[in-house]
Symmetry: C2
Subunit: 186 residues, 2 copies
Amino acid sequence: MAHRTISEEQLLDRALELFRVHGFEGVSLSRLSEAIGLEKASLYHRYPGGKDQIVLAAVARVAQWFGEHVFALLKTDDSPRRRVALVAEQLRVFYRDGTQPCVTDVLSISGGSEELAATLKIALQAWLKAFGEIARESGLSSSVSRLRAEEAIVRIEGSLVLARVLGDTKPFQRVLKLLPGLLTVA
Amino acid sequence: MAHRTISEEQLLDRALELFRVHGFEGVSLSRLSEAIGLEKASLYHRYPGGKDQIVLAAVARVAQWFGEHVFALLKTDDSPRRRVALVAEQLRVFYRDGTQPCVTDVLSISGGSEELAATLKIALQAWLKAFGEIARESGLSSSVSRLRAEEAIVRIEGSLVLARVLGDTKPFQRVLKLLPGLLTVA
DNA sequence: GTCTATATTAAGATAGAC
DNA sequence: GTCTATCTTAATATAGAC
């Protein structure tokens, strides 16, 4: 293989593409090496912890993306309803209209490290918190806000499962449309 | 290893326990052999197609269970609402109060055969159809029934994902409670 | 029908040249 | 920092005895 170079960001994006579709156990270092364009030894040089470390870095990048594109949007000075609508647009991008699986779903299936499981849990809790806060701000009670946040994420996750199994993204698109009504008062 | 014997049913139940938690790629023949109590060569004797064939047989058994415990219940002469309540109880059993993952979710993650993917799709479509029919029978319009069936399954799948990631089964329990209201007219 | 034993391939991981 | 080469372990799969 020719002597190639690749940025940290590109490397992790390509790794994530594999992990979110095939899961932790479904991705080997050989496949990563091929997709990324670096030999296995080069991957070990950058990530001495191997696959465990690579997947953690990829998930951290997703968390960063969510921070910038989702959570940040929820704290602008638009109306709550408008902010949620903008968030729905970002989610549509992240999940490519429902054609890409949820990272949290796929990577939470057994096989990865304890640290990976803990990281995914924290990421999902942050998402729940952000959705709960916007609902609260829109005027819903604290307990209802929490329930709405859970319901929203339940329906996003569930619709992505249906999309994967059935090849039908309509339920996902529907959830995104309903999101403003679900997370804010009418 | 001592010369052991095991029924087809027990074998597949033990295989399913592994597959629904660890996914197709996460289960090796060695692990299957250990969990089932038969040597790998014995598994190949019963299932010459190896892991692919074993997982298909395990999924077929799940489909049979759903036929007997879920779909059959939907065709008794109880009231639609009562029938859905009984189905919810069966789902609580199958998912062990939300502590066990959805087979369709976990096994639909890439790695298995095309036939497995097709089988899971058919199983999920049958479930949608059954839920749609009970909703229709309860008096909802055809189009609303379809939407309610999709919403019910979306929320079951999504709440099981949350349960796995967060270790919190409350959203799942809540969906089961809401199921009669979701699938039948009040 | 299950076992022991083994073949073959792919996985994770490291050493050392450039 | 990336490469080639290699090690070790575990995976799928088969042969043949009992």
